[in-house]
Symmetry: D2
Subunit: 267 residues, 4 copies
């Protein structure tokens, strides 16, 4: 199985890149499953039902979220009728939606997608490690799930690396999101789990984490409020990782994907 | 001019990689200047005078530091007789050492190296943007300095990107350190400044930010004290960035460098 | 001289308490100078020119601010024509307004009021200790200023206590604001400086830091957005400290003040 | 029933105050139950078995902890044979010891003591609100427990106030610890729960949160390592709260207690 994970889609620039390029990528790379982090898809903040549908139509099998899950309030409502939308699993019990989904892919496989939020330099959440353990125990790799993807939405490299090592050999991919910058440490860990500390964003990199750079540049120095944060409107780089997954659900190869926009391009 | 910046050297594994490989890299890439972040060189914590000398002997023209600057107390003393050792410029006035150094390189050029610490998710420091401005005003690119390197030692991608945009066109390279994971966003910004959010570490990537993984894996889940943090002892990846700098001091090309160890290798 | 400092006025409830009670307090306690923290006076967030004027009319000689200084954007404009309005001194240079004011009081004295923000668990500001030193050097106690008040707007008790000890003997009062809860450690330090870690707020204590309690109670558990934060509308406790200041500008006695509302009342 | 809660005992100065004064307080105030936070009892950092015994011998019925629980490693071992020692309940499962204890007091009553850690500006813990709910459901007030004491060890006033409001009417006392400064907002909430945002420490207040002030004063300005943090050795103020508890387990009155040392004395 060949799976593509795309990082945080930021605003219109990011969505256009997904819509225009994803169908071709699915075809060219013979992708069986596509997971996209959509927490910034709606003008940089959250996701709407229309945009969720747009991402599915473009080829996503599942959409994950993060600390911006509820920036668009409608997400708290439509998530309950959106079976392929997954928010962090370690929100308190009673939170709308689900933290993991077993997704049927176009090739008939079952892919478990888990979204989890880190706690270092982030808001107070329940234990991310215990929460993920519960999900993969409920749908173990090779028995219930043909592949397992864990999107750890976190700030600190250490917390993401710990998640990778803990799950190594038991899931197909541990991939970080949230920093909006792809890391160059994509690889298959010794136990067979594909890993990348952060997959980067699908957005305009000639900004500040995908937002127009003028206001963040001003605000970090002047410490006064001012204009709003708006997504940068230049051409987006589609930033993701492609994972080759064997019959046992473990990874055999990973390839970074960076197409379009300001970043260096992958083949 | 061709300049190499190597990220945080972590412990013996990192030092061995530098010592063994740097001379060859200097020769093969015809490097004119080498800057190395050494804040974790002494068993993961700080730097000693002997190790500082070891890095110079291996080919470094300048060594930068970070939040671990003083983990080895002797650094507070020997830094005053170590003209090529630079600690963050935005420590309070009265701090030992210097935050910038104008380094004479083997080709007779003058390279200004500035080390600065971010403040987002970090300890309280003076304004990093104002501090860097003062240094580059004192030794402007093309007039006093043939090249300017700014090592921003910081956690948040946003703060590092803001530093890059603010300095674009006025320095040769803005490079991030501290997260110990290389990013894949190396490029030349529109104004001619080479940029990479984080250059990664020179250390064993089969650990947690260069430390043996067992203890961090345990501690993040159990929240109890335990063993000490020790550097991972596997083969290090030398992680850096090579910048081609023109006569005007601006960058014309950047190439990521990853040699040895667990990460994907650059050519 | 007898000086009263009142903590963060929160919304209408806090303003009504000030307006109704302050004139009587000035008369009954023969107050020579009144300083009020007004950072939450406008519906809990910032201050308007009309409210600034209202506080002066009620008897304030000077109004201080904090991390909410600019929540009402007009404050960035009118502060430059409001000589008795003081914002944190350790904002970056170029910030509107002033961080210290030498205020002429009704008894002909000159009182230097300095507002400064802490950095522990707070936004990144310039060094608060260095910034305050500069202000008191410019108007030393007993020579230029008859009294000096330092409002340290900070979260951590340690940082506030350090400020108190550092300034002990050189200012009349170091008083903390920001936590919205009065501490019971009011006293005169050995060198003659009055000190209280936090003076509390002028607001309704049957809430959460002066805001209606329903939404914070929900949000801390549910981690989802919801209603807005509104000031609690019950009767406010006026919370302050009265300092007796000698001819040399040092304190001879302190008395906590808590009048009205839910807290235990002082005489 | 009359219950005394004493805040964080810091070092020898704090222990001497407890040993010398507690027996007299028990007699004079006819106390039925004494709970003491002991997280800083061993030279400022953690607790030993000998000190735990010393506190019991002085009159404590129960000892609570906090973020310093394990600073003395032996605590991780002896806590399992120390039935009256309670560590934060929201540590991960598998942590040594217990987060709540049902203590038999000298008057034959059963007092449930729960220790819980906040998460705002603190280390990542499990949900404190959910964790406390579980404990009080297991031993409800008036049915299993004659009184319930919740020690919320936390930094932010907002989080402590939320805990107070949530538990109002269901426990006897919600008392904050950790900031080492007593607040003046002791009162009985509308539902009958006694509340104080922070009870302060039993230690020398002429320091910085109970530690000798020289080193914190230096380090906050200089940002370099230096001497060790040592407890201040002056006379301690015993800082606590006395709660009158009715037959239904709810509070009818609270009185702050401050005896000895630098703070203003209660009657
Ligand atoms: Fe994002
Ligand atoms: Fe995010
Ligand atoms: Fe480092
Ligand atoms: Fe660092
Ligand atoms: Fe406030
Ligand atoms: Fe504030
Ligand atoms: Fe404590
Ligand atoms: Fe504590």
């Amino acid at each position: 199985m060949r799976l593509l994970f795309l990082g945080d889609v930021v605003g219109k620039s990011g969505r256009v890149a997904v819509t225009e390029r994803l169908p071709g990528l699915v075809r060219d790379h013979a992708l069986d499953c596509v997971v996209i982090n959509g927490e910034n898809a709606a003008h940089g903040f959250g996701i709407t039902e229309a945009i969720y549908q747009e991402l599915l139509d473009a080829g996503a099998d599942c959409v994950t979220l993060g600390n911006h899950s509820w920036d668009q309030r409608e997400a708290m409502v439509f998530i309950d009728r959106a079976p392929r939308l997954v928010r962090p699993v370690n929100y308190p019990s009673g939170t709308p939606g689900r933290g993991a989904a077993l997704v049927h892919t176009r090739n008939g496989a079952q892919v478990l997608v888990v979204n989890v939020m880190g706690r270092v330099f982030m808001d107070a959440m329940d234990d991310p490690f215990a929460a993920v353990e519960r999900e993969i125990e409920a749908a173990p790799l090779g028995r219930v799930a043909d592949a397992i993807v864990v999107d750890i939405h976190a700030e600190a490299t250490s917390e993401k690396q710990v998640m990778g090592h803990i799950l190594d050999g038991r899931v197909s991919l541990v991939v970080g999101t949230h920093t909006h910058v792809p890391t160059a440490d994509h690889r298959v860990l010794p136990g067979g789990t594909a890993y990348q500390t952060d997959v980067g964003m699908c957005g305009d990199y000639d900004g500040v984490i995908g937002m127009d750079k003028a206001e963040p540049m001003r605000r970090m120095r002047e410490k006064t409020p001012g204009g709003k944060f708006e997504p940068a409107s230049g051409v987006a780089t589609l930033s993701g990782i492609i994972v080759e997954i064997g019959a046992n659900g473990l990874a055999t190869a990973v390839t970074p994907l960076r197409v379009g926009g300001a970043l260096s391009q992958t083949a």
